[in-house]
């Protein structure tokens, strides 16, 4: 009998665990609190009616305002209608209204024929008490320099320093008065409670988001999984998700994307993928900068079972002797055909833009050697966009046709790379920003010194092959401390990035700041290797190229396009800076040169070659 009691007690205790938690969950629902253990970081606060609106994100593109208001749960009996009002002549005037989507409590607005030539005060209104105010900025087309603040990896865990206030980030954005905010991914790390975590994100960053266009790209953790190979919406069942697809159900992913991306300009090709999941790849033209918003995870093939095993995980390659070509398998996708088609047209379209920037979750190479901990040396990581190599090369080849600069995150390791396809440095530059708080450490630490390094630069810089034999040239890496170093943010190389796009000089300056410094203080120092300034035209300037004859125009900043005379393939399209432009081109080939004020509609040469004569072009 004693034994029976003991066993009964064990059984009752196990069952009680479930039932007690049921009670806790019911209480949490009643009080609007989150579920799960932990320090209550993701508790959804009970708010008064006047505070029902948490924050709002917006973009303006092509005279269309899209704004998504994020609300706290609306109690039963209260209206579901949410209004958008703007201030005209000192009075609030309603311009749109919508019904809140209860799953995720978002209220998306869309206003066409938006006058972006002036700043406009707005407020989101719910009921008679809740008002949330912000400013829709004037389109800064006349501004010489467009500043884009970039972030990734928003861990809230205390052990990563995630509980430390974001006030330094808020203050610095205000100090530099950033024109655009770019959150490249992992705004949310909780894999089950996106809504609660997104509200916390809004409480942390809403103060700067409400007043400037913001681009958010939901990455793997936002979607509720450790890594993400979207594979067109397949269901993933393998631990780690390397079989491709989504671990969370489609409606969860839809909620995430609605919260984070429904304020982006309309997708250029809105056809849905599997499980009813949408797509959001598009472009945002703001202040003369044309941003391509890439969804680099959505179509990507999962490697498990498709590539020969080369390491302890299906997505990790530990064997340095492996043949990189063996994993570049037929049919493996990085960017989908629809995305490549979009990039093809995007790189040719220079209307209202002087520079182009591609925004994506991560960079197009294996940008780290050591993963997770100092013992975690991998030869290659297929979660990176270095794999599949053919897909990576297709993406870079598409982007360089528009001289696009690449701004990304995800790696938890800030880096600057100049990418190569056929030779080192023949494609675009990328800047990967550091994590806001660093959940998972990575190091760029090649075993061999890089070739062609700049004088005095660290050995890890220079020309390298990444683990997939992709050609990369490193210029900077903000490696964290090697040993566990407590909870300090900056020993884990936390921080944020700034990209300054100067439309007059066509220069791009990358800044990489640690946390908790005043970036306007002269004594504040960036991570080693930053700042770095490059030219827009460095994004497609292969070392092996020569120069065609100089073109002189009778108008400022025309669009120039080079087409291979034999294959008719477009080599590139770019807006010149000023009244002269000397096109670069491969040696030994002939090119058709087309020029125009805003589109390359006038052929000025049928067979231009490297070394050909200068030419004057009339476009007036």
């Amino acid at each position: 009998m004693k034994l029976q009691k003991i066993l009964s007690f064990i059984c009752a205790a196990a069952i009680a665990a479930g039932s007690v938690d049921l009670s806790a969950q019911q209480k949490a629902k009643g009080k609007g609190k989150g579920k799960g253990k932990g320090p209550g970081l993701l508790a959804i606060p009970e708010v008064e009616d006047k505070d029902r609106i948490c924050f709002a994100l917006y973009t303006v593109h092509d005279k269309t305002l899209k704004l998504t208001a994020q609300l706290y749960p609306i109690p039963e009996g209260q209206p579901r209608e949410v209004r958008l009002e703007v201030k005209k002549d000192g009075e609030w005037s309603e311009v749109a209204k919508t019904t809140v989507i209860e799953r995720g409590w978002t209220a998306p607005f869309r206003v066409e024929n938006w006058d972006d030539s002036k700043a406009t005060a707005y407020r989101v209104a719910h009921g008679t008490e809740a008002f949330y105010e912000g400013t829709i900025r004037k389109n800064p087309t006349d501004k010489e320099e467009i500043i884009v603040a970039g972030y990734t990896g928003n861990s809230i865990q205390p052990r990563h320093g995630g509980d430390i206030s974001r006030q330094d980030l808020i203050d610095n954005v205000k100090r530099i008065d950033a024109d655009v905010l770019f959150f490249s991914g992992d705004q949310v790390y909780d894999h089950h409670r996106h809504y609660a975590a997104w509200l916390k994100f809004g409480r942390d960053f809403g103060e700067i988001i409400k007043d400037r266009p913001t681009v958010c790209l939901p990455d793997d953790h936002d979607a509720g999984q450790p890594n993400l190979w979207g594979e067109s919406g397949k269901v993933s069942t393998l631990q780690g998700a390397s079989d491709g697809g989504y671990i969370q159900p489609g409606d969860y992913v839809q909620e995430v994307e609605r919260a984070q991306t429904s304020h982006l300009p309309d997708p250029v090709d809105p056809e849905k993928i599997g499980q009813g999941i949408g797509v959001y790849f598009t472009n945002l033209n703001w202040g003369g900068i044309d941003f391509a918003v890439l969804e680099d995870r959505k179509f990507k093939t999962g490697p498990a079972g498709r590539v020969p095993k080369q390491g302890p995980r299906p997505d990790h390659i530990r064997n340095p002797e492996y043949d990189p070509a063996s994993v570049d398998i037929d049919g493996a996708v990085l960017l989908g055909e629809r995305q490549l088609k979009f990039l093809d047209s995007w790189t040719q379209d220079w209307s209202k833009s002087e520079m182009k920037v591609a925004l994506s979750a991560t960079i197009f190479c294996g940008g780290a050697h050591i993963h997770g901990a100092a013992d975690g040396r991998l030869h290659a990581d297929m979660d990176s966009n270095g794999w599949p190599q053919s897909g990576r090369n297709r993406a870079l080849a598409a982007l360089r046709k528009g001289y696009a600069f690449h701004y990304a995150g995800d790696q938890h390791l800030a880096t600057i790379f100049h990418h190569g396809i056929d030779e080192h440095r023949d494609a675009i530059w990328s800047f990967c920003v550091p994590s806001i708080a660093n959940l998972y450490l990575r190091w760029w630490e090649p075993l061999e010194p890089g070739a062609n390094r700049e004088d005095g630069s660290p050995e890890y810089t220079g020309d390298h092959l990444d683990g997939f034999a992709n050609k990369v040239t490193n210029y900077a890496a903000a490696n964290p401390e090697k040993k566990p170093a407590g909870n300090l943010l900056n020993t884990r190389s936390a921080g944020w990035g700034v990209v300054r796009l100067n439309k007059d000089t066509r220069e791009i300056t990358m800044e990489c700041w640690p946390r908790n410094v005043d970036v306007t203080d002269d004594s504040a120092e960036q991570y080693p290797g930053w700042p770095r300034t490059i030219s827009q035209f460095d994004n497609y300037n292969p070392p092996s190229w020569g120069k065609l004859g100089e073109l002189t125009f009778d108008v400022e900043d025309p669009v120039v396009q080079l087409i291979d005379a034999e294959t008719k393939e477009i080599l590139y399209t770019v807006r010149a800076n000023g009244k002269t432009f000397t096109p670069g081109a491969p040696k030994g080939k002939a090119f058709i040169v087309k020029v125009g004020k805003d589109a390359p509609d006038t052929t000025v040469s049928e067979k231009a070659e490297v070394g050909s004569e200068p030419q004057s072009v009339e476009l007036k």
Binding site: C11, A17, P249, R313
Partner: protein
């Protein structure tokens, strides 16, 4: 069922569990990351005189961590062999199997840490952790000895209570791959999968109670054996495809093999209790009189 067959059943369960995990150690990556990479572990290593570079490796060479993981795999393989060969008379063999229990406890604890210290992650490994102990008890004391039966019952409760707590998803969120596997295999939508798992979770707890009710315990353990087998097979069934190398067998099959205790232990109890009406092996049940339930109702 003869005692020899019952013992064979336990041997097979233990062998498959160790063999599955040995496969993980040799072929994939054992889940020790959270356990090894922390200040506490390194501090301990330092006290033992192990330098940093020796601990984590130089990058080009393996350090203590990588070598240690490799050695563990051999121990799992040894335990798999012992599962088939251990004899009552050989104390070192029985001690080796109990050491295997310790290995599985460490591994389960590492998984628990990796799962953000969610209790069900540790508890649901109870069947695997106790499988070698169950075999040792059967060898040392006999398959029908009360100790053997108690270990089997505790192992079963742990497995199904842990699994049930996850399936219910009330406190610890249901792992998303539970939904994914259910949807892929049954071809149902998310809402239906939620209901399915909710019912499955409730039944997991019903089993934990039902094995103490004399008339219900054999149906309960039979259901547990079937459900344990199905959940183990769910991994390869949902994930394997003719499009994959080896049909994806190397990715998924070991997931079913190492979960052998989830269906072997209930099956053991099912056969063990077959003769219950003739000669109860232990007074663990609650009689109909005690529960005011009639077997004829």
């Amino acid at each position: 069922m003869p005692d020899t067959r019952l013992l064979l059943l336990l041997r097979i369960g233990s062998f498959l569990c160790f063999a599955g995990w040995a496969w993980v150690h040799f072929y994939w990556q054992a889940p020790y990351g959270k356990l090894l990479w922390n200040d506490g572990t390194f501090s301990l290593a330092e006290k033992l005189g192990i330098e940093w570079d020796d601990f984590v490796g130089s990058g080009a060479n393996d350090g203590f961590i990588q070598k240690w993981s490799g050695w563990i795999g051999w121990l799992y393989l040894l335990c798999a062999v012992l599962s088939l060969t251990a004899k009552k008379a050989s104390r070192w063999q029985l001690a080796g199997l109990l050491g295997g229990c310790g290995l599985l406890v460490i591994l389960s604890f590492a998984k628990y840490l990796g799962a953000q210290q969610q209790l069900p992650m540790f508890v649901e490994h109870g069947g695997q952790m106790l499988m070698p102990a169950l075999l040792v008890a059967a060898l040392a004391k006999g398959v029908r000895h009360r100790t053997t039966e108690i270990v089997a019952i505790v192992a079963l409760i742990a497995t199904f209570a842990g699994h049930g707590a996850y399936a219910l998803g009330f406190h610890w969120p249901t792992p998303a791959n539970f939904f994914g596997m259910t949807r892929v295999i049954l071809g149902i939508e998310q809402d239906a999968a939620k209901i399915f798992l909710l019912v499955a979770g409730i039944l997991d707890f019903v089993i934990c109670v039902g094995i103490f009710i004399s008339w219900a315990r054999r149906p309960c353990v039979l259901y547990a054996a079937i459900w344990g087998l199905l959940t183990a097979l769910a991994r390869p069934v949902s994930g394997m495809s003719t499009d994959l190398n080896f049909w994806g067998a190397d990715q998924f099959v070991h997931e079913a093999i190492l979960r052998a205790p989830h269906y072997v232990i209930p099956l053991f109890l099912f056969f063990l209790w077959k003769r219950e009406s003739d000669a109860p092996v232990a007074d663990l049940s609650i009689s109909p009189e005690q529960t005011n339930l009639s077997t004829e109702s």
